[in-house]
Assembly symmetry: none
Homo-oligomer: 159 residues x 2
Amino acid sequence: MANLSDIIEDFIKKMFDDMPEGILEIQRNEMANYFQCAPSQINYVLTTRFTLERGYFVESRRGGGGYIRIKKLKIREGEFLKEIIEYIGESISGSEAKAIIERLWEEEVITEREMRILCAAINKYNLPLSPADQDMVRARIMKAVITALMDHEARKGGN
Amino acid sequence: MANLSDIIEDFIKKMFDDMPEGILEIQRNEMANYFQCAPSQINYVLTTRFTLERGYFVESRRGGGGYIRIKKLKIREGEFLKEIIEYIGESISGSEAKAIIERLWEEEVITEREMRILCAAINKYNLPLSPADQDMVRARIMKAVITALMDHEARKGGN
DNA sequence: AGTTTTTGACCTTCTTTGACCTTTAATTAT
DNA sequence: ATAATTAAAGGTCAAAGAAGGTCAAAAACT
């Protein structure tokens, strides 16, 4: 984990621990200065790690007194899994799939054990197919599993 | 006598001696440089020697700060799950796979939820491939998942 | 002959940097 | 007071850099 983007990502995520509201404001230049990097690297981290699919919403304002505000989204039980299924679509890369699985765990939709099961099932070394087929099969597996989870929840809840 | 691939294999395996967690990270180019070989030879060694069947799990990431992570799976000898993996082999039909999953549930190796997750993952309707490929991919997924479960249990159970 | 290993050319993904741009607030000049 | 200017943010985009991946042909074993 030697790259700066990951370090910045972790740093920001830790800042959320002190923010019970789940809303955080940062100054781009201050942060860039702290990490001794180009300011645009902060944007890079935000656009690759703090996306909607990963459960964050980013707003900002320029000019004097400007800021970047990052909100950690609270999931809406009923629609959360449905949205993820839509996001997955027909094909998904290994790294995106992994991000989704991690998010499901963070949101406590799946257990750690289940996370491991899923990661194993979609790992490219375990899917001996052409890259394009891998992405397609991965999307199918992900959607099937999430659908199964939804069904399970529904049955439990409705009895 | 020993060819380069064997030497690299041994070298990597020795590196595990210093890693009590059984998780190792290497740099492909660094390693290729050390052994004065083509970088792709490292991939060759990984795909032929560090497979699930041999008890390893490989993940990687490209780009700056990229890496190849090799996990030596912790598996207790003589475990029931190991027999199942052998039984699965290279290819398995949907009905056989389903029977195995149900058996795992009956033996309380997996929860009901996990059973549903697995059944969804290996269902033929979710694997848009030729029948032969389906059976092969299904076997891979089953083995990967069972291996992940064994590793998870072994790590949890205080090594 | 058949299988395994080795090599190399070419590809994809992810990160970092920098030059240039836009928006907003604060200050200054009229 | 208002308009013009300056300062203070943040934004964009493309190029360069830093990994790792793939595939098939050639070479070396058995």
